[in-house]
Amino acid sequence: MAKQIYWEDIKEGAEIPSLPKVATTQMLIQWAGASGDLNPMHYEDAFAKSQGQPGVIVHGQLKRAWLVQLMTNWIGEQGFLRKLGCQFRGTDLPRGMALIGMPKDGETWQCKGTVTKKYTEDEQHLIDCDIWIENGQGVKTTPGWATAVLPSRG
């Protein structure tokens, strides 16, 4: 874990440290099992194609969890994630597997963000952020936003 950040030390426009992520077909199965989302769009190629997709696609809810991780990693154990939202604008296709437990070469996604506003409200020290996921081509497939409460040096 990174060390604790404090509200006073964060400037508007600051970048949140990027979180790199890989999605594989195996990880989608794992997410389907953990989450209970059994939509075949995420594990059966023929079904995904029948729905107009190029193949199985990464779960939106998994991408949302990546963005939550981006925020909770950064705000630290004393920060509190107050709001988070995102839109699933672009589809993302997982990497296939080369071996059991080893993905093929391919795309790596980057979860990123910037601080857009810093303010206090009801004696809480808050920041608003733009957050997003970029695919391997640098296209933002999943734009979002978040608000967090940060600890203050007082």
Partner: protein, 159 residues
């Protein structure tokens, strides 16, 4: 069923309340599937040393659909069947929004019920009809406290 009938039937409809215990195994399966190694979510002793009563459930633990993890609720399956019947068979996950109010720990019990907040007609860039269906869910803990509200936006595309 026509679109107007679907709207009449569904807007304001509330699903059954489901009650789920947040258990350590489900948190473990969730964080492994996400690849999130935050010790607050994995190491009970660490969480306790940081002032928590037990393992912390990550904010992403609240699933799309209103359960403490993500089994698709019956109300949404029934709604989607009616959408297909009305000529909107292409179901996509448009996005999700959360408000978080309190931290949830292993051992907490959460009750939740999904409600259909609205159905809005829009047009895709390619000129096809689509519907935005907003489904909202409050999560209440065993002490009667609101811990999170989730709003899901489903997109239903016309044939």
């Amino acid at each position: 069923m026509t679109l107007e009938e679907v709207k009449q039937k569904w807007v304001g409809m509330k699903g059954d309340v489901t009650v789920n215990e947040v258990d350590k195994s489900s948190i473990k399966r969730h964080v492994e599937a996400v690849g999130d190694h935050n010790p607050l979510f994995q190491d009970e002793e660490h969480a306790q040393s940081a002032g928590h009563p037990g393992l912390v459930a990550p904010p992403a633990f609240f699933g799309r659909d209103a359960r403490a993890h993500n089994e698709f609720p019956k109300i949404m399956m029934d709604l989607l069947m009616d959408m297909m019947g009305a000529g909107y068979p292409g179901i996509l996950d448009g996005g999700v929004e959360y408000d978080f109010y309190r931290i949830v720990h292993a051992g907490d019990t959460l009750s939740s019920a999904a409600r259909v907040e609205g159905i809005t007609e829009k047009t895709t860039k390619a000129g096809k009809a689509m519907l935005f269906v907003a489904v909202v869910c409050d999560f209440i803990n065993q002490r009667g406290q609101l811990v999170a509200t989730q709003k899901t936006n489903l997109i239903c595309l016309a044939l």
